[in-house]
């Protein structure tokens, strides 16, 4: 079981309080009608599915109900850092 630090509660809690919410930094297209089916499919279905350090979304379901960002190794499960939502918009840019 992972031990996850909630950036809003500012405490580490057992994984059972949280729910994973998928890969991070997948923004909804500004104007869905303006893009091709390929681009739409890429947003809805396609994923990078990193092997290694991976940014993902978690929600503190049974806690403060906030969504936040987690950088976690999908190889070792080690959590490298967490961030409140919107603190960064991509793996690099802060």
């Amino acid at each position: 079981m992972l031990l996850i630090h909630c950036p809003y509660c500012k405490e580490s809690r057992d994984q059972s309080e949280f729910s994973p919410a998928g890969e991070a930094f997948i923004a909804r297209p500004e104007s869905p009608e303006g893009i091709s089916d390929e681009e739409w499919a890429d947003y809805v279905f396609y994923r990078t599915n990193h092997k290694g350090n991976h940014w993902e979304q978690w929600v503190h379901t049974n806690g403060c109900r906030k969504y936040f960002l987690v950088e976690r190794s999908t190889i070792s499960h080690q959590i490298l850092q967490v961030a409140p939502f919107g603190a960064r918009n991509s793996e690099t840019e802060l």
Binding site: M1, L2, L3, D14, S19, A21, A27, R28, S31, P32, E33, D37, W40, Y43, V44, Q57, V59, T61, R65, K66, Y67, S76, H77, I79, F85, G86
Partner: protein
């Protein structure tokens, strides 16, 4: 036999216990294990092996024991496949061998055929599917150890969460020392010490007869620990009879504690759990898990009374038991001399055979020789003589040439009745490897050691390759200091000066795997699964060369002992045969559990009623009182129907539906999800997540909404109420409540954080009583005076705030049946009261409570869909003929809209929801039956089907390919299950609105 009493013995000679093994009565003492007690009674045969059914005795004294499998007790306390070495004796214990060594055994009977049944035998035989199908069950009958239980467990199991700064795993010399070092040098840090045995001390007991200092250190240290446990229980927790069986991510450690050893207790309502799983979240972990001794290998090494050297010592020291009078102690490391010395001290005749020809003999060897103990160095056992039990050993001279062992010279025979062997020690690295750590092969100790550096973890003592108890104690203090530093606790290290009487057991020579022995039959590596050196050779010869392939091909290490003693010899043999080093061969992966964990313990109390929460409305008890049958929806228990005495479901539903359509019905609608939506952007938010328009919905009104996901598929629906321009209350389906709520939060927080909207779940805040039927208005007028119920003043799809029977209520005029209906929402605590008041006041109209089944019929008569029944996650609003609910002119591209334009979602032959009327109106279609085309292929299926009491005919809804364009066409529903009577039922595709298509009923009477 039992030796004279000695302070090192951990049995209480004043408490004698009776027990039964294989139907024979025996006596033992408190503190005995089943194994030690049987040895004391000279009962040496324990069970039979897996493949060849060979008779087997004890090899070890702990959890590494491969042979001594038994089942314990009977009935609700019957437990299969326990190791006799892990069962603490209690009065009245009753056990039988997993497979009885004294009964006839087919596997042993076909001994002459064994040579034709090598590893991988079954891959090469019974290749015809038909033949395999015939023989498989007969072959299966031979497999397995104990019989399965036949009754439900009478005991219960608990889980307990712990949080500690330091967890020390292993209560031997190192573990004790480490725990003490941390406790002595810190103030508030919480420490947990875990040990699998009932007495702290581990292997240290083995030193007691030869070393006063060991006994004294043990006594003092254990007392110190116990006083910590008693005086500062918040800070120090001592878990004995507790095995750390798994180490998960972020130092989450699971420990199985055995509470009641007396399995024969007979209480139906146990006051104690049988076992407890402690789930420990630790900051720092200190591993002091020790090492398992491994045997030397030689021909016929599976005969009874061939035991591990340290196990012989352990039986000697802890239980005062020895199973032989004339012992050959054989091995490749210094520990064998300690064993010989202890035997000699106890006046047991012994000979030492050491494969190593020593240049500089150590002190203890001299001692032994002085005391006339025969010591043969540079000799090896090549074969054991005897039918089932050891009678003698054949030895030959041995020398190491380069990297390979040579065996030469004449064969000598030494008669003996017990062989104690030691091939070195395997550090117990299992836990460390559970969450990803690696091992490396250490040439000095000839063993796989845990990787050096690791965050938040230290290893000390034997598991770290430290081979003398004195060193282990100081090593542990050292590592404990590192742990303290990691916790930011500053303290001074003080080394302990212990006895001079010193011997390093990890002086081990290279694995003894000479060709002369590897090529012999019956040189066993895995005794439980009968894996021999020849099997490993065959595996390699056939190209299964990876150690994982060898394991799988030969089944080496698959037993209940998980190869704790045998695997490493298998790796050594593989290395020898492949001509590579042991570290190149590597180990197989270590996985939880370190030792077996009862399913019951894994589940804990989350079984039966606690397996999953049962959620009730505040009106539940009333439903129970009126004899309702319940339907489970998500976690909710909803009334399904309310049978009167003698009624079946059809009669009850028929009555409920007619009463509702003709007069008055009532239902508990409290389980629907309710989400309070507030903020200046509440409207905008609703119009983004629902497909229809919300900007103009006036306060005081309600509106139905359909929710899709980005794939364009329907996921939920419900009515939302406009309280004011900035405040709405949304209802969701019962099953969808949680997922919808978190989906909405996700949109708000991750995509639309600019919107000023707050969501709050108010599902539990309200009890909802629906009053349904032509007489509903009359009833409401009775119950509530401060609301004007006249139809033109309180219209359909409106709501009013009022007082119902003195309780504040939000009354919504909405309908899921097409009848005049009101939903009374009150604070949950008054739900039961309102329900009762409605029932009383409704009596004059024969008000009838109805459940989900009637609700389904009533809504189906009107063609209203149920998300999850008429849709399945792959239906668009167009598919269910609800294009009318798709707003065309919303500026924002609401969720799912973009997908509607994708080609496959606009295809004409998609499954579409339509009505279906059987030509014979009395025939009710089975739900799930398929509609076929003229080729007999499925073109859709029936989603909902009922006999409509009010229409007195069968009605159904179905998904049919291109169905919306096929109105009026006749199709065939094919019944393909014998039970339902094979037939083809002609039906007409119709509108799915079967009743009151003009919608006149919704205003009720007057």
């Amino acid at each position: 036999m039992r030796l004279a009493q000695h302070p090192s013995h951990q049995v209480d000679y004043s408490k004698s216990l009776n027990f039964i093994f294989n139907n024979k009565r025996y006596k033992g003492y408190e503190g005995d294990t089943l194994a030690s007690a049987l040895l004391a009674n000279d009962a040496l045969l324990f069970s039979r092996s897996f493949k060849y059914g060979r008779k087997r005795g004890l090899m070890a004294a702990g959890v590494e024991e491969p042979n001594a499998l038994v089942s314990l007790e009977i009935g609700g306390r019957y437990t299969p496949n326990l190791k006799a070495t892990e069962i603490m004796l209690y009065d009245g214990l009753s056990a039988v061998s997993a497979s009885n060594p004294n009964a006839f055994d087919m596997r042993a009977f076909i001994k002459p055929l064994h040579r034709f049944m090598p590893a991988g035998f079954y891959y090469k035989t019974f290749i015809k599917q038909k033949v395999w199908a015939k023989v498989e069950d007969r072959i299966r009958a031979f497999s397995g150890f104990s019989k399965a239980p036949t009754e439900e467990d009478v005991d219960v199991y608990d889980h307990i969460f712990h949080h500690a700064e330091v967890v020390v795993i292993g209560g031997g010399a190192a573990g004790i020392s480490a725990a003490l070092e941390v406790l002595n040098n810190s103030q508030k840090e919480r420490v947990i010490l875990v040990d699998e045995r009932s007495q702290l001390g581990g292997e240290l007991f083995n030193e007691f007869t030869s070393d006063e200092a060991a006994m004294k250190w043990h006594k003092d240290s254990v007392n110190r620990l116990l006083s910590f446990a008693n005086e500062d229980s918040e800070r120090f927790t001592l878990l004995t009879k507790s095995t750390a069986y798994a180490w998960h991510d972020q130092n989450f450690i699971e420990v199985l504690e055995t509470i009641t050893t007396a399995e024969s207790l007979t209480s139906s309502e146990p006051q104690k759990a049988r076992k407890i799983v402690h789930r420990i979240r630790a900051k720092e972990v200190i591993l002091a898990t020790g090492a398992h001794e491994r045997p030397m290998i030689f021909e016929a090494n599976d005969l009874t009374n061939i035991m591990l050297s340290q196990s012989v010592r352990r039986y000697l020291h802890e239980y005062g038991v020895i199973s032989g009078k004339k012992v050959v102690v054989y091995g490749n490391n210094d520990s064998i001399y300690s064993t010989a010395r202890d035997l000699h001290v106890n006046d047991i005749e012994c000979v030492v055979v050491d494969v190593r020809s020593s240049e500089d003999p150590i002190e203890i060897v001299a001692e032994l020789k002085d005391s006339d103990v025969k010591v043969l160095q540079g000799y090896s056992i090549v074969k054991v003589l005897g039918t089932h039990q050891v009678k003698a050993v054949e030895i030959k001279q041995t020398k190491l040439q380069g990297n390979s062992w040579q065996v030469f010279g004449d064969t000598q025979t030494l008669s003996c009745d017990l062989v104690a062997t030691s091939g070195g020690f395997n550090p117990v690295v299992h836990l460390d490897c559970h969450n990803g750590a690696k091992t490396y092969f250490d040439e000095v100790s000839q063993s796989f050691l845990p990787q050096q550096e690791r965050d938040n973890r230290e290893v000390c003592g034997a598991v770290a390759g430290v081979g003398a108890w004195q060193d282990a104690i100081n090593d542990a203090k050292n590592k404990a200091q590192f742990t303290l530093n990691a916790l930011g606790v500053l303290s001074e290290l003080t080394q302990e000066i212990l006895s001079e009487n010193y011997s390093n057991y990890f002086n081990v020579s290279q694995f003894f795997t000479p060709k002369e022995i590897l090529n012999k039959p019956k040189v066993f590596l895995d005794l439980q699964n009968d894996v021999t050196t020849l099997d490993v050779a065959l595996s390699i010869r056939e190209g299964y060369r990876s150690i994982e392939h060898i394991k799988r091909y030969t089944a080496m290490g698959f037993g209940t002992d998980q190869g704790k003693t045998g695997n490493i010899n298998g790796i050594a043999v593989a290395a020898e045969l492949l001509g590579i080093t042991m570290s190149e061969v590597g180990t197989t992966t270590f996985r939880p559990a370190y030792t077996g964990v009862d399913f019951g313990a894994m589940a804990g109390r989350e079984v039966g009623d606690f397996f999953d929460p049962q959620r009730y409305t505040t009106i539940h008890d009333s439903h129970v009182a009126s004899g309702a049958e319940f339907e489970v929806v998500g976690q909710w228990y909803r009334p399904w129907y309310y049978p009167k005495t003698g009624e079946n479901i059809h009669q009850a539903v028929h009555r409920e539906c007619l009463a509702t359509r003709t007069s008055l019905g009532m239902m508990d609608a409290s389980t629907l999800g309710k989400i309070d939506v507030q903020g200046s952007d509440a409207r905008e938010f609703l119009s983004r997540i629902y497909t229809n328009a919300w900007m103009k919905l006036a306060p005081g009104s309600c509106r139905y909404g359909l929710m899709c996901n980005e794939k364009g598929m329907i996921i939920d629906d419900g009515v939302s109420t406009c309280i004011n321009d900035n405040h709405f209350i949304m209802t969701t389906t019962t099953g969808g409540a949680a997922s919808v709520y978190s989906a909405l939060e996700m949109w708000l927080q991750t995509e639309w954080s600019d919107l000023d909207v707050h969501l709050n779940s108010v599902t539990d805040q309200y009890s909802t009583v629906a009053v349904v039927g032509p007489n509903a208005r009359k009833l409401m007028k009775l119950l509530c005076q401060d609301v004007d119920f006249e139809r033109e003043n309180f219209k359909f799809m409106q709501w009013r705030q009022g007082t119902v029977c003195g309780v504040d209520a939000r009354i919504m005029r909405i309908s899921f049946s097409g009848e005049l209906a009101y939903e009374i929402n009150v604070e949950a605590n008054y739900g039961r009261y309102i329900w009762d008041q409605v029932a009383i006041a409704g009596e004059k109209w024969n008000i009838t409570p109805y459940g989900t089944e009637s609700m389904h019929v009533l809504r189906a008569e009107k063609g209203y869909i149920i998300v999850g029944q008429d849709t399945d996650g792959s239906m668009t609003p167009m598919d269910v003929n609800m294009s009318w609910i798709l707003a065309k002119d919303k500026p924002f591209s609401y969720v799912g809209r973009r997908s509607f334009s994708i080609s496959a979602l606009c295809a004409e032959d998609r499954l579409q929801l339509v009505g279906l009327l059987t030509k014979d109106s009395s025939t009710v279609l089975p739900e799930g039956a398929h509609i076929i085309d003229n080729k007999g292929k499925s073109i859709g299926y029936v989603t909902s089907s009922y006999f409509s009491p009010i229409l007195e005919k069968s009605i159904a809804m179905a998904q049919i390919k291109g169905g919306l364009a096929k109105m009026g066409e006749t199709v065939l529903v094919k019944i393909v299950q014998k039970k339902q009577g094979l037939k083809e039922i002609p039906c007409e595709i119709s509108s799915s609105v079967f009743y009151d298509s003009e919608g006149e009923k919704v205003d009720g009477n007057e």
